[in-house]
Symmetry: C2
Subunit: 219 residues, 2 copies
């Protein structure tokens, strides 16, 4: 992927602006598990995801995690450069969930470009709005949907991301993603198994009743 | 209030842009209780709050409400013009919580201005980021904080907004705000009363133990 392909508004930037963006973007390869951004203290810069998978999550004081959204190839991670958005008053953590190839654009460079270019500022607006939408979706899930329905939706989503019915994920890990407790997840998964929707093994969940899971996720 | 006072970047707009914004802004007086925007279907336009108080909330299919944030004099409501932000994929409802004086700027006009003016686009960015921050704060509350602590924080916030220790609000209404059930709120308020933190009357709550409430809200 080229830097230009991350920005649909590339053609509306001046040659100087394009050059600045290209030259300031530093490639970085990160192994799965790397914590890229934590809270509001650091300001790594804008991350352009060339490959792999990032996860944005929030963390409570007691270490409880909730996954907010994922970033895939072609996505831009803004919150790792939240220092340039003075109105962002919350802490998000970003980790590489798979081995990932990134470009890092320094926050100061991007901020300068946004101040010069209305198209880039408007595009950035769209990115923030998209993330906002994902968080609002999650909020809706947490507030208004039952846990069985959320868990079914989660398993289907994971299966779509992995491209497989076989998920190698622990109950502990699922609980982390959903901001729940392991016991709650285990209890519900056992119920799902008794209903023929999943089959459980050590450290893994296999989806065996997609249609039933889908119906539950929709409920 | 003048239109210009809503925009810290006013001086960075051209005279033409300033004129367009001023001329297109239509004054509107709305009584308390007016639903100004509901879901993503309508696109009233940008609301500039000249006086009064608006409430942004989400609504479940079953009619359960959760308050996201409030808008006061000098604030700008963007989500009533979410049609101009194609990436906004969620439904927010906006109502006048008190008699309010607004200016309505048509979404198309504002969008044109944002496309022309990098300062305005960047300022809009800041507004979205602020709202995003408020929603993330709420998310944190819901996910990580206990109900007693959230309720104490809610009562203190209401008291600050009203400028009084005497809140004329029903348990039903508090439950709506917090996305909880009336019984849960009543049970907790009775506990607060037994601890000397509040005194309950028909349709009202009086804060009698601020320090205790603050300590609980911080916990």
């Amino acid at each position: 992927m080229s830097i230009s392909s991350f920005f649909p508004v590339w053609d509306q930037l001046t040659p100087d602006q394009q050059r600045l963006l290209e030259q300031s973007a530093a490639p970085r390869a990160v192994p799965a598990g790397t914590l890229l951004h934590s809270g509001s203290a650091d300001c790594v810069g804008l991350l352009l995801v060339g490959g792999g998978q990032l996860r944005a999550f929030i963390l409570s004081d007691e270490g409880k995690e909730v996954t907010l959204y994922r970033l895939f190839e072609g996505d831009i991670c803004l919150f790792s450069a939240s220092c340039m958005l003075s109105s962002i008053q919350f802490d998000i953590s970003i980790e590489a969930e798979k081995d990932s190839a990134l470009w890092v654009v320094p926050a100061a460079v991007y901020q300068t470009l946004m101040e010069q270019s209305a198209p880039l500022a408007n595009y950035t607006n769209q990115i923030i709005s998209s993330r906002f939408s994902e968080v609002m979706w999650l909020m809706d899930q947490i507030l208004f949907r039952r846990f069985d329905s959320r868990l079914a939706a989660f398993l289907l989503e994971e299966s779509a991301i992995e491209g497989s019915d076989e998920l190698s994920i622990t109950h502990e890990r699922i609980a982390h993603h959903m901001g729940s407790a392991r016991e709650v997840v285990t209890r519900m998964l056992k119920y799902f198994q008794s209903e023929g929707m999943v089959s459980l093994s050590r450290g893994g969940v296999r989806l065996t009743g997609r249609e039933k899971l889908k119906a539950l996720a929709r409920s």
